[in-house]
């Protein structure tokens, strides 16, 4: 028994079933991401003065990934157009690019995540001032810049890579996503922190200024030893770090799942579904169209995610 309008559009609606289905599904996806975007706004607007972190994202990588995804959106349309014209070979070639872009996006996102997991922020019981600990920050570039000196002058927290000192005084790299509780569990009393404050916290524009002035030599990280008992809190750049990272990871991970799902479906249709093309080309083309609609939506979400998470 055939259900009507699985391939041919119904006259009065102009849609075949799956196309209507995907539009409905996307409507619900809009509500899903809409809720998350609203949460983002609410959390950000409700954040205490100065509590919302800025400048923690790697903008060049994010931009590159955006380009990758937009490219895939273009190829998805081109491949469908090729199919509509009956050119299966061309469709296959172009659609393969889509899949590659999708995987590229996910790969880059993974390294980005990984980089985040290896950065730590530590908060002190008492805010430290630069004056007390001159090696906390490269004084020269603080002086060079136009940044609010007071803000950078007292340091409630530091960002960097975490090493710890064991009982025999030896230095080790810390693992992923440790917290104060982890340190206490491992009976670690002292840590060494490789400061990376330069990359974070300081706007990229000013970073560039400083670099130009030649007073900052790249490769060197200042290090500082800190007693664990002086710390109020410690967190890697993981969801627990702040509401910013919480929403960042939640939204981008949910988005990445969508990218993955879309890539799997597109790849499946591309390489495993060819028989359908021979049997019922129109139906096959419809499938490509429907998966393409989904893909556009996934891209669109990223177009919104990128500015709110990286730029604003």
């Amino acid at each position: 028994m055939e259900i009507p309008y699985t391939t041919q559009p119904r006259e009065d609606t102009g849609l075949y079933n799956a196309k209507l289905g995907i539009w409905l599904f996307l409507a619900s996806e809009v509500m899903l991401f809409g809720a998350l975007f609203s949460s983002y706004i609410l959390l950000r607007v409700g954040a205490a003065e100065g509590a919302w972190p800025h400048g923690l994202m790697n903008i060049p990588i994010g931009t590159f990934n955006t380009v990758v995804l937009i490219t895939s959106s273009v190829t998805v349309v081109l491949s469908w157009a090729a199919l509509k014209l009956g050119n299966f070979k061309r469709y296959q070639k172009i659609q393969a690019v889509t899949v590659i872009c999708a995987l590229g996006f996910l790969g880059i996102k993974t390294t980005e995540y990984n980089e985040k997991f290896h950065h730590y922020e530590i908060w002190f019981n008492e805010p430290m001032t630069v004056a007390e600990h001159p090696n906390l920050m490269n004084q020269s570039f603080v002086e060079e810049t136009t940044i609010n000196k007071e803000l950078i002058g007292t340091v409630p927290s530091l960002i960097g890579h975490l090493n710890y000192i064991d009982k025999d005084g030896e230095k080790h790299h810390a693992g992923i996503a440790w917290t104060l509780a982890t340190l206490k569990e491992k009976e670690i009393e002292e840590i060494e922190f490789e400061l990376d404050t330069f990359h974070y916290r300081i706007p990229a524009r000013i970073q560039a200024q400083i670099k130009k002035s030649g007073k900052y030599d790249k490769g060197e990280h200042e290090t500082i030893r800190v007693q664990v008992s002086d710390l109020r809190r410690m967190s890697a750049f993981v969801p627990a770090h702040s509401t910013f990272f919480a929403i960042y990871f939640t939204m981008t991970a949910l988005h990445a799942l969508h990218v993955l799902a879309g890539a799997i479906v597109i790849a499946y249709i591309l390489w495993r579904n060819n028989k359908l093309w021979k049997r019922d080309p129109e139906r096959y083309t419809n499938r490509v169209e429907v998966s393409g609609l989904f893909w556009h939506f996934v891209d669109l979400v990223w177009i919104f995610l990128f500015p709110i998470l990286y730029l604003l």
Binding site: N17, M31, L43, A240
Partner: protein, 610 residues
């Protein structure tokens, strides 16, 4: 409008495929036939309703007789659940778990699957003249997600720490910090259920838009189909925010984020320092009620649809004001998305926001009243058949009326400040969902049972079931209004005993405005009535199973109804119709002049004129 019948051949092309043998698993467990899936949903949902009712029965005992050993099942409870039921007594934690799960199970595993998925699946394709749903396989997956969600919820009772305890609303931070993984199970269960209803709603909407038979125009659709259509949209658009909210709560529980945990949180006197803070408890409430309020229309609209069908058929009259009904249900659908924060008046959102939501809440009551009024007027001048489905449908009207009218004071900001979180609220929404929705759905069960099984349910047992249920329902919920207005809070495991005026040893020192003994005394009578209600379901259960094989044989159209679902063989075969079907007229042409019978089926063409 004359129908075009160009597509009719498609419906019957593969007619002869009906009878080939497919195994038991394919035909009953992994079936893609909308009728089987509908029945799967129906049976599962009825079982969950009974289970949810059983939970509340135990809670009622605890409320009536705090701290006493539960009779009959106390020992069993201890064996199954351990310490929380030590000596067969219900500990407060267990009460909380049962309360939260009663709400969750009744709403998400009982009523929605029965009202939307079961009746919708079985009846909608039949009523619009379709051979199946638009996406049969997605339909099957939808049921499987639902079943998985049910299993997850059910299992959570038996894990260490027990099931979720933060109410069906799962407000954070309570839900986040509560030390049982039951809450995590709850979230995962909800995610499955949301997925299920997402798949279901896409399917329903697509089916109704795409698969209407020739001539089945929008204004010829039975009202029931309209209610399902709007319900589908509500589920489609309101559930995803709860999914987002659940994911964030899951993050809070598993990855120590602070979406819902504010800075400076203090737990049992201890400041919580190892979280980032900066979250917002109100965020959860907004996201929850953005679903939560539309959800109550998901609970009520399908029941209204069922009642409309049953009323029109058994009053032998067209529905009065069909168009007003349709436009009202559309209006309800839209407005239901902008009233949610009337559940949050006491959170201190501010008077401006409260006023906005108070206004929209009053506005949405208008279409609801129109619907109820139309249904009442439809009875005027009818020749009413008082069979069991009709009795339930008739009882729905005043019961839902009570529920609806008592909601108005809750919609007013100033009155709600007093009534919020009291037993008044419990009474209000139960009048809507228990003697309201549940009666509507029972009407549907009695009404469509002969179509599903080929046999009618027994009338005598049905009448006993109806009258006993009606009486006990009111004995349960009517006194709760009084208790609530006297100040009794909901979600108290001892039914307010600590607030009793004459509590001995002054445990209630510092309590302002204590509860009088008579208010607390009601707890006992309500508990008895709840037992009575349980007993009243026994005739129904017997009837349900007994009639399958022993009921009176039903004809194809035992109620002489007009809609297309009755113009099929009973029970309908795979593919539903044995000849191409088309609609030529409106859905409720009862007692029309100039027709030989008092009903004119939708698929009966007008006699050729000229």
């Amino acid at each position: 409008m004359q129908a075009t019948t160009t597509e009719k051949t498609e419906h019957t092309e593969h007619h002869d495929h009906h009878h080939h043998d497919i195994g038991f698993l394919r035909s009953y467990v992994f079936s893609t036939d909308h009728k089987i899936i509908g029945i799967q949903y129906g049976v599962t949902a009825l079982a969950f309703l009974l289970f949810g009712f059983f939970l509340v029965l135990l809670m009622r005992f605890q409320i009536g007789y705090p701290g006493e050993t539960i009779p009959v099942v106390g020992g069993l409870l201890e064996k199954l659940l351990g310490d929380v039921a030590a000596e067969g007594k219900m500990q407060p934690d267990l009460y909380n778990a049962f309360g939260a799960m009663h709400g969750t199970i009744m709403v998400f595993l009982g009523v929605v699957p029965l009202a939307f998925a079961a009746f919708g699946n079985y009846v909608v394709p039949l009523q619009i003249g379709a051979i199946d749903m638009a996406f049969p396989r997605i339909n099957m997956v939808s049921y499987q997600c639902y079943a998985a969600g049910g299993v997850i919820m059910f299992v959570s009772f038996f894990i260490p720490g027990g099931a979720a305890q933060a109410g069906w609303t799962s407000y954070s931070p309570l839900a986040t910090v509560i030390p049982t993984n039951g809450q995590t199970f709850w979230i995962l269960g909800m995610v499955m259920l949301i997925t299920s209803s997402l798949l279901g709603s896409v399917n329903f909407i697509a089916t109704i838009i795409q698969l209407r038979a020739p001539g089945m125009t929008w204004m010829r659709m039975p009202f029931f189909v309209w209610t399902q259509f709007i319900t589908g949209f509500i589920l489609l658009l309101a559930f995803p925010p709860l999914e987002a909210a659940s994911v964030m709560q899951l993050m809070d529980r598993l990855f120590d984020t602070s979406f819902y945990l504010p800075s400076g949180l203090v737990l049992s006197g201890q400041p919580v320092t190892q979280i980032s803070g900066g979250g917002s408890p109100l965020l959860w409430q907004h996201l929850f009620w953005f679903l939560g309020h539309p959800e109550v229309y998901v609970l009520i609209l399908p029941a209204m649809g069922v009642v409309a069908e049953v009323l029109a058929c058994n009053a032998r009259r067209p529905l009065w004001g069909y168009r007003s009904l349709v436009y009202s249900v559309l209006a309800v659908g839209f407005i239901s998305f902008i009233v949610w924060a009337h559940h949050m008046y006491v959170t201190g959102m501010g008077t401006k926001i409260s006023t906005f939501f108070q206004t929209t809440t009053m506005i949405i009551s208008i279409p609801s009243v129109i619907i109820l009024t139309c249904l009442f007027i439809s009875l005027w001048g009818g020749s009413i058949r008082f069979n069991t489905p009709m009795c339930f449908a008739l009882a729905f009207l005043p019961m839902f009326g009570i529920g609806g009218l008592t909601g108005l004071p809750l919609g007013f900001n100033f009155a709600d400040l007093l009534l919020h979180d009291s037993y008044y609220v419990i009474a209000h929404f139960h009048y809507v969902v228990a003697p309201g929705t549940i009666f509507g759905l029972l009407a549907g069960v009695y009404f469509w049972y002969p179509k599903m099984t080929g046999r009618l349910m027994n009338e005598a047992l049905g009448q006993v079931h109806f009258w006993a249920s009606l009486i006990f329902m009111n004995l349960i919920f009517m006194p709760m209004f009084a208790q609530g207005m006297a100040g009794m809070s909901r979600r108290m495991s001892d039914g307010g005993a600590v607030y009793a005026a004459q509590a001995e040893g002054m445990v209630n020192e510092g309590v302002i405005g204590a509860l009088s003994a008579s208010v607390i005394e009601w707890n006992k009578s309500i508990t008895f009535a709840a037992c009575g209600l349980m007993i009243a379901q026994i005739p129904f259960i017997i009837n349900f199973f007994w009639s399958m094989n022993n009921g009176r044989k039903a004809t194809d159209n035992p109620w002489n109804a007009t809609t297309l679902d009755w113009q099929t063989p009973t029970p309908p075969p795979h593919g539903n119709f044995d000849k191409p079907i088309a609609a030529y007229r409106g859905p409720y042409e009862y007692s029309q002049e100039g027709h030989p019978t008092d009903f004119t089926p939708q698929n009966q063409p007008d006699p050729v004129k000229s």
